[in-house]
């Protein structure tokens, strides 16, 4: 039996405490009035940033009306798409002062959104990692994989985070739905009302699907379904330890198969609902796969890192370098798979150059240049070049290193998916972002390692456990 070392427990609590303080600071420090924003902008301007100049360029009366009305930070979506339709006569009578005021208001909304968006990114990223591990676990069960049963308890430990993670996430969704923040543009008041200045015909056309009650119901059903599978598969897995036949194992097999069908559908829907809907005008048909690839590779990296940690502390004696080699192969393969989907999405939109599609990449390349291209190095170039070598896939320290690179890269990926539509060009990886991440990592460590102490680390009565113990590459 594994015991949660005090050192690690203290570490988890320190992370949570630091994270909590940082999140609180982020919320307190967010500007409340336009005067504060003026001060910030003035400071930035003297600091040599050209954010102001950049933003002012795009304003026109209609656009301002749209922006203010939408009460959001999204320059990208609403304004740029509407831009071609905007009548140009209005340019003549626009007033530089009004323009500036609107810009300041816009920045204010961005900065007020920032701590929320930071919390949202970290929360969904860590929660989806445990969902990814759950899917990976279900695949192992459904495929009756012979190599992996020695790792099942590690995976079950990681999926223990799914319940607290999804509860916190659902609370954030409810708060967003109740307008505690303005992360989701499509929730703006009056957006469905043709007489309102904030009316948006595109969003109105999608309102049968994209409305707060239905959106919350979907989120509830999806999260409940995932957690139900996690609950029953874990229960069965523990019961199988004491069983004398394979009846429970077979039940778990069927459960995994059913779950995978449920998961692939709900995963797609959840990625539209929770991530793609930040840009309600924009859509991509492979988005679900793309998000899946991102958290699946992160999940496998986390399995590898935790397995190596436990092994280094003398647990999991049955896990050999061959098992780690297989995990590293999955890290390599899923990294390439992620890149394939990223590129498939990028190239088609880049090539066709349709304004309503390509705006997604233009905002990212213009305002998020470093994280946007930086994540390609972290998520593709480095895993490819490091993990392509067979011998490197068996070196524990190198797997941990690449795992950390992959996790950083895919955090950035989620950052790039969510931030442009919520904080626009006011992004910065500062106190709010890092603290939110620290808080959820701390909670993750605490929940996962507590769950690992609850059961023996070897699923001893799994019918494939002997094969798994003897697995060699």
């Amino acid at each position: 039996m594994y015991t949660f070392s005090n050192k690690l427990k203290t570490f988890a609590f320190i992370l949570m405490a630091l994270g909590f303080i940082g999140i609180a600071i982020g919320f307190v420090k967010a500007p409340k009035t336009t005067e504060e924003v003026e001060a910030i902008l003035a400071a930035e301007h003297h600091g040599g940033h050209e954010v102001v100049a950049h933003d002012v360029k795009v304003a026109s009366h209609e656009q301002i009306a749209q922006e203010v009305a939408v009460d959001s930070t999204v320059v990208s979506d609403t304004t740029k798409v509407v831009a071609p339709v905007v009548k140009h006569e209005s340019h003549d009578d626009h007033d530089a002062h009004a323009e500036h005021t609107e810009h300041v208001k816009h920045v204010l909304h961005s900065l007020q959104n920032k701590p929320w968006a930071a919390l949202y990114v970290a929360c969904i990223f860590v929660m989806l990692i445990s969902a990814g591990v759950l899917a990976f676990y279900a695949i192992q069960q459904a495929a009756q994989a012979g190599w992996s049963p020695v790792l099942f308890r590690v995976m079950e430990g990681i999926t223990a985070y799914l319940l607290p993670g999804s509860i916190i996430f659902f609370i954030i969704l409810v708060l967003s739905g109740m307008h505690f923040n303005h992360l989701f543009v499509w929730m703006t008041e009056g957006i469905l009302d043709p007489t309102s200045p904030t009316y948006d015909p595109v969003v109105a056309g999608k309102s049968a699907y994209l409305n707060v009650p239905f959106w919350l119901i979907r989120a509830f059903i999806m999260l409940a379904g995932w957690n139900a599978y996690r609950h029953f598969s874990r229960k069965n897995s523990l019961a199988q330890d004491e069983a004398s036949d394979n009846v429970i194992y077979k039940k778990n097999f069927k459960l995994a198969a059913v779950f995978l069908v449920f998961f692939i559908v709900t995963e797609s829907i959840s990625s539209w609902d929770w991530i793609m809907s930040f840009d309600p005008h924009w859509y991509s048909t492979l988005y679900g796969w793309y998000v899946l690839a991102s958290f699946l590779v992160s999940g496998v990296s986390v399995i590898a890192i935790i397995t190596i940690y436990l092994r280094a502390n003398g647990f999991l004696p049955e896990v050999s370098t061959s098992h780690l080699h297989d995990l590293a192969k999955f890290m390599f393969g899923f990294s390439i798979f992620w890149t394939y989907l990223w590129f498939s999405q990028f190239m088609l939109m880049w090539y066709s150059n349709i304004p309503e599609e390509v705006v997604y990449f233009i905002t990212r390349i213009e305002n998020y240049n470093l994280p946007f291209f930086g994540m390609l190095i972290l998520n593709f170039a480095l895993p490819l070049l490091i993990l392509i070598n067979t011998d490197f896939k068996r070196l524990t320290w190198l797997i941990v290193m690449v795992g950390i690179i992959i996790l950083c890269g895919h955090y950035l990926d989620f950052f790039n998916m969510i931030m442009p539509a919520t904080v626009g060009d006011q992004w910065f990886i500062g106190v709010s972002e890092i603290s939110s991440l620290l808080f959820f990592i701390g909670l993750f460590i605490y929940v996962v390692f507590t769950a690992l102490t609850k059961a023996p680390l070897l699923a001893k009565r799994n019918p494939f456990i002997e094969e798994s113990k003897h697995f060699h590459y």
């Binding site: 590129f343 990028f346 190239m347 090539y351 066709s352 150059n353 060699h472």
Partner: protein, 174 residues
Amino acid sequence: MSTKVLHVLYNDDDVLMEAVHATRSAHHHIEEVYTPFPVHGLDKALGLAPTRLAICAFIYGVIGLSFATFMMNFIMIEDWPQDIGGKPSFSYIQNMPAFVPIMFELTVFFAAHLMVFTFFMRSRLWPFKQAENPDVRTTDDHFLMEVALHGNEEELVNFFKNTGAVEVKVIDKH
């Protein structure tokens, strides 16, 4: 000069694997093993050096990538620049996303084909080549281990009979 070798036949791969371990720990020199299908872990049991084919594959892939880059640069940028979909037609790097599928495919193409040819050359295989296996049964259900014969012949034959061999033959090899 003629050298004598032993042909030891087995009819099970597990028995073969154990025999290989036993033979090597008794310090007899295994010249070759003929099997009807690839036996997992046999190369390690025989102490063969790990394959360097992977390094070749990487080099071939890099060659393919370079070739594709050169080829697309020549065709689409230098020789006959074309304006497709309003994309800049005089810069390779700005057009690069459009060429990525070609660069990828040629990387795979070069790596795969050159690796197959390398494998054939390294294994001394070519069309119409005469088969080298000493016993036709190794193409069906038998495993044959060829061991150099040094010292007492009878002792050695008995040693191999004890490893579970179904047949032990002494062969004069030219």
